[in-house]
Amino acid sequence: MPPIKIRKRTETGGVRSFVIRATAILAALVVTAAFIALLGKNPIDVYASMVTGALGNPHRLRETIIRAVPLVVTSLGIAIAFKMKFWNIGADGQIIMGAFGASYFALNCPNLPQPLLLLVMAAAGMVAGGLWAFIPAFFKARFGTNETLFTLMMNYVAQKWVTYLQYGPWKDPKAIGFPKIPNFVDNAILPKVFGVHIGWIIALILVAVVHVFMKRTKRGYEIAVVGESVDTARYAGMNVRGIILSALFASGALCGLAGMIQASAVSNTLAVDISGGAGYTAIITTWLAQLSAPAIVIVSFLFAVLVQGGSYIQTAFQIPQAAAQILQGMILFFVLGSEFFVNYRVAFGRTVAPSESEVPEEFKVPAAYDEPASPEAVKTTKGGSRG
């Protein structure tokens, strides 16, 4: 059996990374196609009708855009945290709390003029979402807690909080015992532009703002440095704790704003399922977009097509929407798997040509491969005889 050798790549080839990721998505489509074929449907027909289901007429396109908006806004928020290598997977909870903050004013101040009420709701949503992210950030900066678990748990707390409101203090007395929160007054609902609520304009503006923030501002630069090396940031005299806290507040605030948009424009009320899973899907879109704000727009839209198309094939082919979710899962699975091939090269046989002579040691990667300069780093399946 020929030995397999695995080595870390040092040079970053933009084209190659793109090809590898595109291949991964193609592979996901192929595998899911096999699954659809197993259900007795023609995968090509199914894929085609997913596209027409999502983009086929103006109404469907509008629905797709409505699904894309929370993904874009939430992904922008997540990207800020991820740039700092702070793994905020609490976006769902931050969306819910943002929706809660906005709903508080929508329900309690229905008589404010519409522009003012909407601004207050947006501000409240951002503060609530921001605080929800600030809490785990504070504990991480102060006590070194694990942010992944902490932010995840905060999601459940947020869900249960809204459930409590729904069954308790905020229960709509007019719903004759049905546990739901009252609908917003018209003043609390975002207006529409071209048939879609103005969330889409807000999203596009935020894309530009976040892009400039990350690339051109001092704070954006600091976030990038902290993400690469906390030691370097401290050495340069940066206030690392302050950067983590403020960046996470901004991250949560964007997610909270997504929650406000959903509550105001889509559900017209507060509900536990207000996010529609956007908080989790946005983790995927952020990652696929490589944290780049412009790319987030494209990836989020494509994912919205996937979701919208998925619900269309449910009616058109009588296959469960879960089939489309399998495709989502497959795409994530393959793209994450393909990261390995972006970062390492694999070769068979004896004539391996490593692309580099030296890899700086600090790039810690999966344990077995971290130091190509050492013999242990070279994995080989060849069982040689030993002396």
């Binding site: 690469e228 005299g237 002579s357 300069a373 070279v378 060849k382 030993r386």
Partner: protein, 510 residues
């Protein structure tokens, strides 16, 4: 070829991308000799011997072991042929004992007969003069002991040919003497040794034959008895260079910086520096000598406000800096170009390009919310010219540059801010001779401008030639400050090992 050749490389070539690391190198190592591979960093020494571990495979050319053509797929092939490699960075499991480290990865039965192994280890130790307690944990060992364990490890696996990659880089002069006596002993026992180094004195001390590599090419193989340091230097560098580092004399010196009774705990909260007092003057390079881990890092970090100060004062122009924030210390004109062990860990952001790295410390002095990168772009371009930095572009991630160029970027940035005090640690580690001299010149220029330099060094020759005074640290305690013009390597070495200045001075030795 003759029958006494243990290993023979035949026209080995190897390229990495556009860089030819080895160009048709032919080389024969005779049984029972100590063969030195001499060359600057990047000359292809390590690449060549790594072919014996299967880490790299030659693009063309053959390797013969005992006259038979062999292929190397993994380090196991090397061990099978009795070739053992001792890497510059030790591959030991710290919480385990010497014995456990020696038997790691060995085939055998499910259970380990420690007694038998122990007996064999003691046998080997006695035979080669390797003093190691098999039951001592690696954690508790000095660097020299760890290296001994590495040597024992390959001997235990039956190696008759030992390859040592820059073995003296981390050792004190006394440990080097001991290592060399071990190597000679092994030679007497019939082992063959390949020694990779760029230090000429060592080669002249211990080697039998010397092969000089330069930029991937073999320049020649010489008998030690028939050559000289001057000839080897010429071969290594390609032209005659003066080995001497210039030490300029600055007439006007004023103390501007002082520590008084400084005590600092390291990150592991153990006391790293105890009661350290010294002064630093303008127009002076103050060297700091010490074995790795003697408190150098903590000294730098505490001055920069990165580590809390337990006791004592740090005075800069009469003002106590203890307890100040890093940003304030930078603002006062104290600059640190710390090159820690991993080179990019602190000081530079590996994945960012030159421009983003140049603004690291002064971006905050720009007005407003935004960063203007155009001055840094101009600075980067100028720096590339002034310091002859080899890089594909000003936005290429610095991790893709070679060690010397990375160092130039770091030091160039620190000097660019025209600091009153420059703290620099191991600035020439891993650099070739030419890059090293560029850096020494930069430091001297700083001194001539009347600035103060604190130079944390490891190469005693460099410390003695470059610095004005040398502070010796041992276990976080100052053992004394020597005048670099009169001090000797032996004195420094003894003080690094913990003797006081008096005990170490040649007069008091008897």
């Amino acid at each position: 070829m003759t029958s006494s050749d243990v290993i023979r490389f035949d026209r080995i070539s190897k390229t990495f991308g556009s860089v030819a690391a080895n160009r048709a190198i032919s080389l024969a190592v005779k049984a029972g000799e100590i063969h030195a591979l001499l060359g600057e960093n990047g000359s292809g020494k390590t690449t060549l011997v790594n072919m014996l571990s299967g880490i790299y495979s030659p693009d063309s050319g053959d390797i013969f072991v005992y006259g038979k053509r062999e292929y190397f797929h993994s380090p196991r092939d090397a061990i099978r042929l009795g070739i053992g490699m001792i890497h510059q960075h030790f591959k030991l499991v710290a919480p385990m004992t010497a014995l456990e480290n020696i038997i790691i990865g060995q085939n055998g039965s499910l259970f380990i007969g420690k007694k038998g192994v122990s007996v064999k280890i003691r046998e080997l130790s006695a035979r080669f003069g390797l003093e190691v307690d098999p039951d001592k944990r690696i954690d508790d060992m000095s660097i020299g002991e760890k290296q001994t364990v590495e040597i024992l490890k390959v001997l235990y696996r039956g190696a008759r040919v030992l390859i040592l990659d820059e073995p003296t880089a981390v050792l004190t002069p006394q440990e080097i003497v001991r290592l060399f006596s071990i190597l000679r002993r092994m030679k007497d026992e019939g082992c063959t040794i390949i020694l990779i180094t760029h230090k000429l004195h060592e080669v002249m001390d211990v080697a039998d034959r010397i092969t000089v590599l330069r930029r991937g090419e073999k320049i020649g193989t010489l008998e030690k008895t028939e050559t000289s340091i001057g000839e080897l230097t010429d071969m290594m560098v390609g032209r005659a260079v003066s080995l001497e580092i210039e030490r300029s004399d600055v007439a006007e010196r004023k103390p501007i910086f002082e520590t008084r009774g400084l005590s600092v705990r390291g990150r592991d909260s153990l006391r790293a520096i105890s009661d350290l007092s010294f002064t630093l003057s303008s127009g002076e390079i103050l060297g700091v000598a010490g074995i790795a881990g003697s408190g150098q890092r903590e000294l730098c970090e505490s001055i920069m406000g990165l580590l809390p100060i337990e006791k004592g004062e740090i005075l800069f122009r009469g003002e106590n800096l203890a307890g100040r924030k890093t940003a304030e210390i930078i603002k006062r004109g104290i600059s640190m170009g710390f090159v820690p062990e991993d080179r990019l860990g602190m000081g530079l952001v590996a994945k960012m390009g030159m421009v983003d790295n140049l603004i690291l410390k002064d971006y905050r002095f720009q007005p407003g919310f935004f960063i203007d990168r155009s001055p840094a772009r101009a600075r980067a371009k100028k720096m590339i010219e002034d310091l002859e930095i080899q890089t594909p572009g000003i936005n290429t991630p610095v991790k893709q540059l070679s060690g010397g160029n990375i160092q130039k970027v770091l030091l160039g940035r620190e000097l660019g801010s025209d600091p009153e005090i420059l703290i620099t640690a191991y600035p020439v580690r891993g650099l070739d001779i030419n890059s090293s001299y560029t850096i020494f010149n930069l430091l001297n220029a700083q001194k001539e401008k009347g600035k103060a330099v604190l130079f944390i060094g490891e190469d005693l020759d460099v410390l003695l030639e470059l610095c004005d005074r040398i502070l010796v640290l041992s276990g976080g305690i100052a053992k004394g400050i020597l005048d670099a013009r009169t001090a000797t390597k032996e004195e420094l070495g003894l003080m690094m090992l913990g003797r006081t200045e008096k005990e170490a001075s040649p007069i008091a030795a008897h």
